[in-house]
């Protein structure tokens, strides 16, 4: 008791690192045809903010500079042809009064998916849709992938009107209770991703995968196994009818039919892309690092002179449409 009474806390304010300078923060995604770059100026917490009116972006394929076009707040560098896998791509961003930021990666091509399928399975008490994606080879250490799943619903209402809904899904895993106890959240990394930007405001999950997620060449998961309405069938997932002001039901909101399609975007990611996205996810745990309890593993960047990442992605898309009897 005495000890507890003695352990009273006390606040100690302290200054942050002084002399911090604004830096260029760039998110650059390298593809087989070209590069998307979104450069921004980030302000220091412990120094003075500055406004920089414009930034210059250069893109290099090996030692050859490629043309760059600006589209609003991002830039696109085009090789003008399909680039071979493994070519070195460098991005350089300059701004007046700012240190020049540079980063590089190597081109990766889209993964070769040789088979994809789904099947109904009964796992314990859960009836799930298990999806299998098979690549042309078993991924090795240092090979990284990502997956996005979009559900498109077309709903027809009682008055004949139709509306489309888009839902972002994530791969599901049915874990036993014991596996849940040992669950390392770093094995289930999901980051916000809107095409080439990471960490934006809208949540569009990209799930990161490494070789340890694969069983040989095959990656298996359950289609949102945590969402029981998906598992129990499409009829249950029709939107609830809205209630009008007078308590009656508007016929334009009574659903009568729904058609569903699942789009799968399967990405091959360069190590830089993977490490950066993983660090972004792990920054959710930064308060524990601040307490000195865990390693600070959320600061990854391959941009010298600035911050951010230059990473490569190659993507392939396929879709699955459930048939009525399957559901």
């Amino acid at each position: 008791m005495g000890l507890a009474a003695l352990l009273s806390s006390c606040e100690i304010p302290f200054d942050l690192k002084e002399g911090g300078e604004p830096k260029i923060y760039m998110q650059s995604q390298v593809g087989a045809w070209g590069v998307y770059v979104m450069p921004q100026v980030v302000q220091p917490l412990g120094g003075k903010s500055v406004d920089v009116s414009s930034l210059d972006v250069e893109v290099w394929l090996d030692d050859e500079q490629v043309p760059v076009q600006r589209y609003g707040d991002y830039y696109e560098g085009s090789y003008g042809r399909l680039c071979e896998e493994g070519r070195r791509v460098s991005v350089v961003v300059r701004g007046e009064g700012l240190e020049t930021a540079r980063g590089e990666t190597r081109v990766v091509h889209s993964p070769k998916v040789v088979d994809y399928s789904w099947t109904r399975v009964q796992v314990d008490t859960i009836r799930a849709l298990q999806v299998s994606i098979t690549l042309d080879h078993a991924p090795g250490e240092g090979e990284y992938y990502g997956i996005e799943i979009l559900e498109h619903d077309q709903v027809e209402y009682l008055d004949g009107s139709k509306r489309a809904y888009l839902t972002f899904l994530t791969p599901g895993y049915i874990l036993t209770a014991a596996e849940s106890v040992s669950l390392d959240l770093a094995d289930f990394v999901q980051v916000n991703y809107d095409g080439f930007r990471l960490g934006g405001a809208d949540y569009q999950p990209l799930t990161l995968l490494s070789d340890k997620h694969f069983d040989g060449a095959t990656y298996r998961f359950y289609l949102n196994s945590f969402d029981t309405s998906v598992l129990s069938g499409i009829r249950d997932r029709l939107p609830d009818p809205d209630t009008g002001i007078d308590g009656g039901v508007d016929p334009s909101w009574i659903p009568v039919k729904k058609e569903t399609r699942y789009d799968f975007y399967f990405h091959r990611l360069s190590p830089e892309f993977y490490f950066y996205a993983r660090a972004l996810y792990q920054s959710n745990f930064d308060f524990l690092a601040n307490m000195g309890l865990i390693p600070a593993n959320f600061t990854w960047s391959n941009v010298s002179g600035g911050m951010g990442y230059v990473g490569a992605r190659g993507s392939t898309r396929f879709e699955l449409v459930p048939e009525e009897e399957e559901l």
Binding site: L6, I12, F14, V42, I294
Partner: protein, 696 residues
């Protein structure tokens, strides 16, 4: 001619004195009463601490603490306040070799690191190596803490009993067969649970509901040593140590039962046979067993009373490392100028980490749902090693200790060899000044698998595997060492590199991985360099010491950051001032002042305005230093002797005497004007402790 003879005679005298000094120093490894001066030893980075230094002075919570003594030494970072962290020359804290009577200890703390496992009542001395490791030591990268317990008194029974703020201690020693055999027994136990358990029982009776709660914490350890002298040349030592922590809590009412239990500890036993064949040759053969175990479990039973539906959940985590070792260590003096040590050792290790979970839902006698799962990972490994080192005079004032250690680590699917050269060179510039330089390579085949930087029972040790390479350090150290009358002044520098070090790179922040644990760790490297200054004045009743360290410690992990970054214990400056004054026959005063640059944390460095909100970005790991740390500890001893020779001693220790709350953790705060500041929180205030010791 006379002049030549005179010079030759003087050189011979100095040489003989040097040789005798060497012999004295070597003997000091067995005879603890000789206080080693850094100037005399060939090794760099060695400090010997004797029993009296360990048992006197500060005693936080009532027990003098070995690790907290070592934390004050230059070149050592302490990490989190009050914990038993020992980060030596930029090391990670799990890369120190702790030996108790020659037996490795894997778990050296109690109470999550608040206390160390070493009971100072039974310790004779300890040697602490930060660099210049002799070839006879191996298996860890950063330091060696070689603790020797004291042989019991061969003639009379003695002992002591102590009671402190948290624990009590009892030590007894004496002859088994007078003049031939003796024992030394030390017991230590916390006594908080003896108070809290009756208090909880009383509270349960008075709370007026059917709910009862229970719980308690206790830690204890036992040290025992038996020594038998067959002859002046032949002796046998049998040593035993066990220490454990037990934490349990429970809650029960008509609908639910919950029990949590955590138990962890160590057990060692050894037999050492020492035989002196002649004045030139002696041998020490050692057989030992050591283990470190932790067992964590919880159980829930939740029922609804009416329908007799009960949900049970059981979880159990058990991990251990066991080791059986055999060693033969020889000392050979072929002449006055050579001291050869050679030997061999072999260790067989069992590493195991397992987790099991089961749950069931039962209605009456019907099982509605049942699930169970378990995972475990076990390894067996074999670690043989041979070594040889020779300490010899090149000239009357030049000494070289050169050695090599060859070790192999056989783990499933892989054999890792390790060739470790060791060399230390001393130049006795004058009788009072020496210069030294050393180079050592050390390998480490054991890795601590932990998700948090804390000494938790859920942590486990795993060996190097085919996927996890042994960690290796290379260290160059050197300095100047002087001693003038009561003054000692030593200046030492080091440069150390560490390869294949591991850092947890997962996100489960409480339960470390078991299967394929290597994949949750990132491999990288570290480097550390710095200067240490040690100044001591020791005369009569007054001893004053000042230690200063200027150091850098950095890490490189490709999976975390693309360049070198500061280590979390990269404390640029460290100062320790230590004073003891025996100002009256019965009174002795102690004071320690500790200062170091703040530990490092990772704070956002930049922000991005995005859709009206701020997103924070980090420029590198451990980019911010917490406010500087400083603390004064004072202590006062009062001893009174009775006519029968027994002594009653009171020790009043005040930790953090001027109640400076040092930063333990920190957060980013936004001020009203939109600017930012760091906000740290201090947790440890002034802690006074009174310890009463009765010596008989």
């Amino acid at each position: 001619m006379k002049r030549l003879l005179l010079i030759g005679g003087l050189l011979g005298a100095v040489w003989s004195a040097g040789a005798q000094e060497l012999r004295d120093t070597l003997e000091a490894s067995r005879v603890s009463v000789i206080r080693e001066k850094m100037r005399n030893t060939t090794q760099t980075g060695l400090m010997r601490i004797e029993s009296k230094q360990l048992t006197s002075g500060m005693a936080v919570f009532g027990s003098p603490d070995v690790i907290k003594k070592l934390q004050m030494l230059p070149g050592v970072a302490a990490g989190n306040e009050l914990m038993s962290g020992l980060y030596v020359h930029g090391g990670d804290g799990n890369d120190n070799l702790f030996l108790l009577d020659g037996v490795p200890l894997y778990n050296i703390t109690h109470f999550g690191g608040l206390f160390s496992s070493f009971n100072t009542d039974v310790i004779d001395n300890l040697d602490f190596y930060k660099s210049g490791f002799p070839a006879r030591y191996g298996g860890r990268m950063s330091s060696v803490v070689d603790v020797q317990t004291r042989e019991g008194n061969l003639e009379k029974y003695h002992g002591s009993a102590s009671l402190g703020l948290i624990d009590g201690r009892l030590q007894v020693e004496g002859p088994v067969v007078k003049g031939k055999s003796s024992f030394n027994l030390g017991l230590r136990r916390s006594w908080m649970d003896l108070v809290t358990i009756p208090a909880i029982m009383y509270a349960n009776r008075r709370n007026g509901t059917d709910q009862t709660v229970g719980g308690g914490y206790a830690m204890w350890d036992v040290n025992a040593r038996f020594t038998h002298h067959f002859s002046p040349q032949h002796s046998l030592n049998a040593c035993f140590y066990t220490g454990a922590d037990d934490l349990h809590a429970s809650m029960e009412d008509s609908d639910a039962k919950m029990r949590i239990g955590v138990n962890w500890g160590s057990l060692t036993g050894s037999v050492a046979d020492e035989y002196q064949f002649s004045k030139k040759l002696r041998a020490r053969n050692l057989l030992y067993y050591t283990q470190s175990t932790s067992d964590t479990g919880y159980r829930f039973e939740i029922g609804d009373g009416d329908t007799q539906t009960v949900m049970n959940m059981d979880d159990s985590d058990i991990s251990y490392v066991r080791e059986i070792g055999l060693g033969s260590h020889w000392d050979w003096y072929p002449n006055s100028f050579n001291h050869v040590r050679f030997g061999a050792s072999a260790q067989y290790h069992w590493y195991h980490s397992g987790r099991s979970f089961s749950s069931s839902t039962v209605q009456g006698s019907t099982v509605l749902r049942e699930a169970s799962d378990s995972e475990s990972q076990g390894y067996r490994s074999f670690e043989p090693a041979i070594y040889a080192e020779d300490e010899f005079f090149l000239r009357y004032n030049l000494t070289l200790n050169a050695g090599i250690r060859l070790a192999f680590f056989a783990t499933p699917g892989k054999i890792w060899p390790s060739i470790e050269p060791r060399a230390a060179f001393k130049w006795l510039i004058t009788r009072d000044i020496s210069a030294k330089i050393s180079y050592t390579r050390m390998s480490q085949f054991a890795h601590l698998v932990a998700a948090l930087y804390m000494d938790l029972p859920s942590n486990s040790w795993m060996p190097s595997t085919a996927a996890a390479r042994p960690m290796v350090s290379d260290q160059l150290a050197g300095g100047l060492y002087t001693s003038f009358g009561p003054f000692t002044l030593n200046l030492e520098g080091w440069y150390k590199t560490m390869d294949h070090i591991l850092v947890y790179n997962g996100s489960n922040t409480f339960v470390p991985p078991i299967t394929e644990w290597e994949k949750s760790f990132a491999e990288g490297k570290g480097r550390s360099y710095g200067l240490e200054l040690e100044a001591t004045y020791e005369k009569g009743p007054l001893t004053l010491s000042a230690y200063y360290t200027l150091s850098w410690s950095q890490r490189y992990f490709e999976a975390i950051y693309g360049s070198w970054f500061p280590d979390r214990n990269d404390n640029r400056h460290k100062v320790n001032l230590v004073a003891s004054w025996h100002f009256a026959r019965r009174w002795e005063l102690f004071a320690n002042w500790n200062y170091h640059s703040g530990n490092r944390i990772t704070f956002p460095s930049h922000y991005l305005e995005e859709n009206g909100s701020r997103r924070y970005l980090y420029d590198q790991p451990y980019n911010t230093a917490l406010p500087d740390y400083h603390r004064l500890d004072v202590g006062l001893d009062f001893s009174t002797a009775f006519r029968n020779g027994h002594v009653l001693k009171f020790n009043l220790s005040v930790y953090n005497a001027y109640n400076h709350l040092n930063a333990s953790l920190a957060f980013l705060e936004t001020k009203e004007d939109g600017s930012f500041t760091g906000m740290a929180y201090g947790l440890v205030p002034i802690i006074p402790t009174l310890t009463v010791t009765y010596r008989f």
